[in-house]
Assembly symmetry: C2
Homo-oligomer: 424 residues x 2
Amino acid sequence: MKSSILYEVCPTTVFSDDAKTASKVLDIDRWLLRTLLLGIGSPKIGAALWDGENIVSESDTPYRMVIRNRASLLRLIVNPLLYFGDDYSAGNIEIEGGLVPFLETVYRALERPGVVRSRYKRVSNWYRRELNSLTGSRKNIHHHYDIGNDFYRLWLDEEMLYTCAYFTEPGISLEAAQDAKMDLICRKLQLKGGERVVEAGCGWGGLARYMAKRYGARVRAFNISGEQVAYARQRAKSEGIVGVEYLEDDYRNISGECDVFVSVGMLEHVGTNNYRTLGEVINRTLSKSGLGLIHSIGQDVAEPMSAWAEKRIFPGSYLPTVREMMEIFEPSGFSVLDLENLRPHYARTLEHWLARFEANTAEVAQMFDENFVRAWRLYLSSSIANFSTGSLQLYQVLFSRRGNNQIPWTRNHLIDPGKDNGKL
Amino acid sequence: MKSSILYEVCPTTVFSDDAKTASKVLDIDRWLLRTLLLGIGSPKIGAALWDGENIVSESDTPYRMVIRNRASLLRLIVNPLLYFGDDYSAGNIEIEGGLVPFLETVYRALERPGVVRSRYKRVSNWYRRELNSLTGSRKNIHHHYDIGNDFYRLWLDEEMLYTCAYFTEPGISLEAAQDAKMDLICRKLQLKGGERVVEAGCGWGGLARYMAKRYGARVRAFNISGEQVAYARQRAKSEGIVGVEYLEDDYRNISGECDVFVSVGMLEHVGTNNYRTLGEVINRTLSKSGLGLIHSIGQDVAEPMSAWAEKRIFPGSYLPTVREMMEIFEPSGFSVLDLENLRPHYARTLEHWLARFEANTAEVAQMFDENFVRAWRLYLSSSIANFSTGSLQLYQVLFSRRGNNQIPWTRNHLIDPGKDNGKL
């Protein structure tokens, strides 16, 4: 199987470690660990070094971090937000008591007054960013999405939706919640049969299939991930779905007119420098009375992604604030009609993904290796913790052209589609 | 009666006009009028000068502007967005066929490509802005809100709500829509009995009364308009409402803790320079799991208010974009949970106000004079046109502290308060 991400996650040079240096825990090692914990806001966690002795013993916490060698300790001091990920993936750091609640505890500590979380983030992002030019975007997208459909199939739902679901009730299944998410989007967009949809960044094509099958829409869906587009085309063909066309092309090359513009989970890869361009693309594409919706991970305060996530998982990514997202809409004169923050839903979605992933780690290890399993476990777990503690948000923004009066009076149609909802 | 606004709207020096200069329409007058209409995007309107002859004859438009003297024509050339208002108020300009649709036609023309609407706005704002310092704000608020409770009582609803209502159905009464607006706000804020509410800018106290009466909340409501506070106190006393306290004080002086922070129609008077301060006030006031809501007129694109509205009607006002509003939330680390644009509802609210105003113009003229009636008619009519054409928006923004998990899963509780809505 493809394993480009594997070797990037665990570069062997980084993890070469001398057994001798790790053999004896010195006073300075203990001092460094204590300093590290103070620096990240003294989270309520236990901590130990490679001799297994508790350095920081919080009597009433079930969570403990064990650092297995001196090199890992030193790397954590230098750049905790990058090397925690790398060293956890390599097995140089173990977490006892549950990875997700451990991370939640750490993230909450990082929010404390006096802990300049963003300082860590800035320091961590010393490396060269992958720019989202037309070719740079292809490279960045390939890194994450082209590592194998068979891998994603192990832990995503049947429709292969790799974005936040919508839990109408907390306890519904992932499949039901992904269905509800797509329906919520269609209802927000007031999608009608025969309408022309442009989808920017279509993943494995699930939303496009849904819009064509359930609403009779005619969808042109764009994506620069070759593997995803191949999968989407094959699946639409085998299911006999008409009215959907998958184009392996960049959103910047979208042409033609549409009644509905939708983009779910692409903005994270666009980069703020290109938001105005995205707005111009929508402006030349959307019909006069059309509606648009952008669904994206975001954050309350403008900060770079954590170094590990951007370097190892999502190169070239940036998660915008609401203010930054407005750069898509304001210069082109779009009107924001509705913004919904679905943060708790992404934590729940990720819990489902993690559970399915954990049930399939043997197969994942066979596809890649044990370090890949640990890296992906950390990525899913830290994402849960980021959403549950509020470090990340999920914004759905509905918009139209300025002065479009073909909009409903209320949001009632979002809840009960059968209810009559007077137009202007 | 008080008439401070009267003389500001119609300064006698501006409107002194020589009957002789107005007597004969010259070729250059006609050329100037044509140039003016071209400059504002050639709206589909008829136009005539003081001889009554049609200069621009759109055969299929019922709307005609008649300029009654040369001085008014010249003023319109110099600064249309300021002097249209002044000269209309003074009776130097007449509109035939309906003021609201006439203005809608003009506003839509101003949106056309090539017409730099904001250029007019910038040019129009040459005069000194009233700064919103603690004393400046008092002066600005006094200008509009202290011109007489008896006047506002003629055309507002019984609860004296001077902000956008919420029409659950387009045809419901203004009273029902204002009631629905207050309930929508309480439901968004998940208001519960006994909760401590701070309201910043409480008008005549209607929402505070509602929250205390219907939800059993304990409300401290702030306002710097002396007349409004006196009215609110008197009314709460006469209705025997407990749990509400009106404070004649600036939002910047708010102290103590609250479970709910609400501000409806104050932000328009705050000024972008003070948004960060407002965020800090909320940050030091709101409890850990509290919710806040800000309801404000806004716009899609950052532009100053039209000169006439800011000079004559709302000195010191500025209507923010969503991006600008984020300056309240982002620096203090608040999380935006929900944003709803109620633009069509404000157009409808204003239609109700205008209809009630028109039914009482005889009384208004007796309180002030005929020019005041015309100025207020123009203000209400142009506001309708601004909302119906999309020049203005109405944003309701719900927010909490970062990572507050005491929020509902869905928006169902906004529609059907009886429905069980699972918590996190």
